[in-house]
């Protein structure tokens, strides 16, 4: 029986070291991420970014989004719901992180649609049809066009304006800011400047609720 005790004690020690190490490491990482976001505040918000909701809303969610990213599509209705549940109190600021190949061209389409005041309908149409124009994790902008029809967009003008150097600058700036904030995956959320402790809808909801409570004081 002594051998069994030895074995299980050793197994327990190994598992405890693993779990303890994981907790310590995660805590340290979260602290570093929060400090990084704090230090790089100026990278978080840019005047050029599209936003939804009141400009002076007490809670600002910054989302780094890739229109070709499936999880971004999955999160979009959840964030919208959260905003609808707290009217006028949440603002959603979108930053572009077109990490998928070809996705930067789709972002350019969105920016060109924005010049015609149709940014959000265009984004929602493209997200809804994502499965059609993202093939094997590669964005295929030419397949995205037909989903922009019927939104009241002047598509000829959109095509011409997509190539505007200002739009390329916006994308480059957003990617640069993503790098500074160590955003490597999408979607990435910051709520009033605070990053998610770990990725997930519940974590986002909790952070938003905390920010809402804090803003009421």
């Amino acid at each position: 029986m002594k051998r069994q005790v030895l074995f299980f004690a050793a197994a327990a020690v190994l598992l405890l070291v693993f779990a303890g190490g994981a907790v310590l490491y995660r805590g340290q990482q979260n602290q570093q991420a929060a400090q990084l976001a704090e230090r790089n505040r100026e990278h978080l918000l840019r005047v050029h970014s599209p936003f939804y909701g009141r400009a002076d809303a007490p809670v600002t969610i910054v989302e780094f989004l890739d229109p070709a990213c499936e999880t971004c599509r999955a999160f979009y209705p959840a964030v919208k719901q959260m905003m609808a549940a707290n009217p006028e109190r949440i603002r959603l600021v979108l930053r572009y992180a077109p990490f998928h190949q070809g996705s930067d061209r789709v972002v350019a389409m969105l920016e060109a649609a924005r010049r015609q005041g149709r940014f959000w309908p265009a984004l929602e149409a493209l997200l809804a049809a994502q499965a059609d124009w993202v093939v094997h994790h590669q964005a295929q902008p030419e397949r995205a066009w037909r989903h922009l029809e019927g939104l009241g967009l002047d598509l000829a003008r959109l095509r011409a304006e997509m190539a505007a150097p200002e739009i390329a600058r916006v994308i480059a700036q957003d990617l640069d800011d993503a790098r500074a904030l160590k955003v490597t995956k999408t979607p990435e959320f910051f709520v009033n400047g605070r990053p998610l402790p770990s990725f997930g809808y519940e974590q986002l909801k909790k952070l938003v609720e905390e920010a809402l409570v804090a803003s009421q004081r």
């Binding site: 051998r3 069994q4 030895l6 074995f7 050793a10 197994a11 190994l14 598992l15 070291v17 693993f18 190490g21 994981a22 490491y25 995660r26």
Partner: protein, 146 residues
């Protein structure tokens, strides 16, 4: 104590137990790098995992009750895993060139995210762990009563 606790069997048992300790620590270590620290896992690392993880399960099965045949099942895994780890170490050291590949989402095996004291890399740790396991199991094989 039962009779087989003395002499050869006891020693062999402890050697296999020590080999399991190394395998379990290596398994948890690999999981820590991959799942907690999120170090990307390159293809060669996956092959080493394939040979290390089962050792953490097979060896204890041979401990209770002690079955000297466990060496027969575990040693080939450790030996092949060790060869892959040595190959990986040589690639990292630049002794064996890695074929030029187009850039993909994956990680090249040559790139090392973790380097401690300037020379300790994950494949080196794996090669050491496999070598220790092979040595312990070989000695256990000769120590155990026929």
């Amino acid at each position: 104590m039962r009779p087989q606790d003395f002499g050869g069997a006891a020693t062999a048992w402890h050697l296999v137990f020590a080999a399991w300790l190394v395998a379990a620590a290596a398994t948890l270590g690999a999981l820590f790098f991959g799942e907690v620290m999120r170090v990307p896992t390159c293809p060669l690392c996956w092959y080493q995992r394939i040979f290390m993880f089962p050792l953490a399960l097979i060896l204890p099965l041979g401990l209770f009750p002690f079955d000297r045949k466990v060496v027969r099942y575990a040693l080939p895994l450790a030996a092949i895993g060790g060869l892959i780890a040595v190959y990986h170490v040589l690639i990292v050291a630049g002794v064996i060139p890695e074929a030029l590949q187009p850039c993909t989402q994956g990680v090249p095996c040559k790139e090392q995210v973790i380097v401690w004291f300037g020379f300790v890399t994950i494949p080196l740790l794996a090669a050491l762990a496999f070598a220790v396991i092979v040595a312990l199991l070989s000695v256990a094989h000769f120590r155990s009563p026929k």
